[in-house]
Amino acid sequence: MVIFPIVALIIGILIGMSHVVPLFILKQAPSTILLLLLFIVGIDIGSNKNVMKEIKRFGLKVIFLPLFIVLGSLAGGLFSGYLLNMKYCDALAIASGFGWYSLSGILVSNLANVELGTLAFLANLARELFSFFIIPLISKRGKLICIAPGGATSMDSTLPFIVRYGGSEIAIVAIVSGIVLSALVPIMVPFFLSLK
């Protein structure tokens, strides 16, 4: 189960590098596939009678989930920043991308410098890609932790993985968490960069 995302990624990169498929198809393909996936995820949610029960069980506690994901991401960012000898505010700014690589890459490039922006882009892209491998691995340990790796992407690209491996009961929680984290990216990234 872990092997299939890795194989898919490697084949994909090789196809891309070979330049046999035109760019307009490459640009369109992921979002089209994601649309179809989210439609199916929706069917899964709609037909699951436990969804309402789960939402009631979570209640207002649901707001704690993105909060803890923020704290965990920042702690992880500080830890890696310390070992990589980075400035703490730079590391925190990159960690505050929460996997939204396009936005955090642009924000950091504009507010700091292009090299740090590239690192923010790659680190957050890697967060999204690694989530594809890690969610199937940790899903046996619990449902809620499946939402953690994807960060802001738990409302789009990692949502199908969360639902497939964690169950459609937690889909709404994942979407709420993804929306909250996405809203925080354009606030927190500039904030940490302003501390320099």
Partner: protein
């Protein structure tokens, strides 16, 4: 973003109207999802592979980027486990 929410809502309505699925149908849906997940990663990989700029930066920044992302991922997982301990005494939610 709006398109994604529309697709999701359309699916929820279809699923709600259709009601529950048989075991066989559920298996088929999961299988279909697996193919699509494979295609999703493949197509994202292809988009990355096509971009020479990303590939050319990997030797310099790849290791640091991978390390930062892994730290944030495991930090988040750990934080959620701690949250479960605090809020519901460590049972599975």
């Amino acid at each position: 973003m709006l398109k994604l929410l529309l697709a999701l809502s359309a699916g929820i309505i279809v699923g709600f109207v259709k009601g529950s699925f048989s075991k066989k149908d559920k298996k088929n849906i999961q299988k279909f999802m697996n193919y699509l997940l494979f295609l999703l990663i493949l197509s994202m990989g292809a988009e990355i592979g096509y971009d020479k700029e990303i590939i050319s930066k990997l030797p310099d920044l790849g290791i640091s980027a991978a390390f930062i992302s892994m730290s944030t991922i495991f930090g988040s997982i750990l934080a959620v486990l701690i949250m479960e301990k605090i809020l519901i005494g460590g049972q599975e939610w």
